[in-house]
Amino acid sequence: MSTIIIREIIKGDIAVSTSDGDLIHDLITDYLKKNETVAVDFEGISIMTTAFLNAAIGQLYSNPTYSDDFLNKYLNLKNVAKEDRILFSEVVKRAKEYFRDKDRFEDSTNSIINGD
């Protein structure tokens, strides 16, 4: 199984920007497109944000091919710091909401604002 070592790709221990997350997303999809299993290794990452994870992981849900089952089978997350684990659940939950039906989501948001 191939491994993407975050620290090596982003050249540091701070995984915070959308652009770095985008870079990781593109590397992951290079493997997923070929139905190859890939591990993403977070060893040594000291700070991580939802902005980074939205781009790296949440963005995967923009491709309908990547179902939960598909991602469980082909994508393996390693060495995530204990205190950062909650971010993954939040980001994945949010991504599913966001992409489930983008139009419906936007409509419902408008309804909330308009109170109708």
């Binding site: 701070i14 963005q59 993954f88 966001y98 936007e106």
Partner: protein, 296 residues
């Protein structure tokens, strides 16, 4: 032409109102040379240098040249320590007590520059984090979330930032302010919602602070960063202030307050106050288990 700063300026509604009124007054002046006179200021909350820096960016963009005069000694000293005045002909001063987080302005594409700045300014401080590494890490995560939010949504030329640490206060307060003069929250939210009845600045900020609300529409989801900050500030008994266009939004100690400013601000000010003496244990269920078997 001289613009007089007549009173002390602190990070509250009155302080922001004064600064925003001053930049609006200065904008109306035809004279290219504007002098900011600080004779009436005996206390200036140092993190507000991020706002002052943005005011200068706004005025310089209108081809005005800004100079400073008549500083009270203590105000000049702190603004030299945090290097705000270095670009205006004043000497740097040594920060013996290591309490300033220097004023800097960043090009939004320079994420490496901001990362290095935060690491250098925060992690190098002997008292940071004062209570636990975990708290320090959470605070840094919040700052990066806020910065990324400004970078993504503001579409600005520069992001200004400055902070101040009060190690002798009971709660060991740490303030950090991040300001951009890009697209403001009211414009962003109303453009996204496309409602017939536009949201006011305050309502637009309230909307943006709700979990799951985002103006993003591409393939990268959003709507979590500000909520992460908000939830942490609640636990930490800190404070968040957001000023965008003519809206002022503040959360502190369980109370959210919104107010309208007399003049609009061309951009967004975000001010966070953290309590470094926080002895709470931030218990998150997923942190307890040794083994983590994440499923999508």
């Amino acid at each position: 032409m001289i613009i007089y700063f007549e009173n002390n300026i602190t990070s509250d509604w009155t302080g922001y109102q004064k600064l925003i009124n001053l930049v609006n007054d200065a904008s109306k002046i035809k004279d290219e040379n504007i002098i900011f006179d600080f004779a009436g200021v005996h206390f200036f909350e140092a993190n507000l240098c991020a706002v002052l820096g943005t005011m200068i960016e706004i005025l310089e963009n209108e081809n005005k040249k800004i100079t400073f005069q008549n500083f009270n000694n203590s105000v000049q000293k702190i603004l030299c320590k945090n290097e705000f005045l270095s670009n205006h002909g004043f000497e740097k001063a040594i920060d013996h007590y290591d309490t300033v987080v220097k004023y800097r302005k960043f090009n939004p594409t320079d994420d490496e520059g901001f990362n290095t700045y935060i690491k250098k300014e925060l992690l190098s401080k002997k008292d940071f984090p004062s209570h636990s590494e975990k708290l320090g890490k959470k605070i840094m995560q919040n700052i990066f979330e806020l910065y990324e939010n400004a970078r993504t949504h503001g579409k600005c030329n520069f992001i200004h930032t400055c902070g101040q640490y009060f190690p002798n206060s009971l709660e060991k307060q740490f303030n950090i302010t991040i300001v951009d003069r890009g697209v403001n929250i009211k414009e962003n939210v109303n453009r996204f919602l496309k409602n017939e009845n536009e949201l006011s600045s305050c309502d637009a900020i309230s909307w943006a602070m709700q979990k799951g609300n985002t103006t993003k529409s591409g393939n990268i989801p959003g709507g979590l960063g500000l909520d992460i900050i908000f939830e942490f500030i609640k636990l930490n008994n800190g404070k968040i202030q957001i000023i965008s266009s003519n809206g002022f939004w503040e959360y502190k100690r369980g109370v959210t307050e919104t107010k309208i400013l007399e003049n609009p601000f061309q951009g967004t000010i975000a001010n966070l106050r953290f309590n470094l003496n926080d002895k709470s244990y931030y218990s998150l269920a997923e942190e307890h288990s040794e083994n983590w078997d994440f499923t999508f």
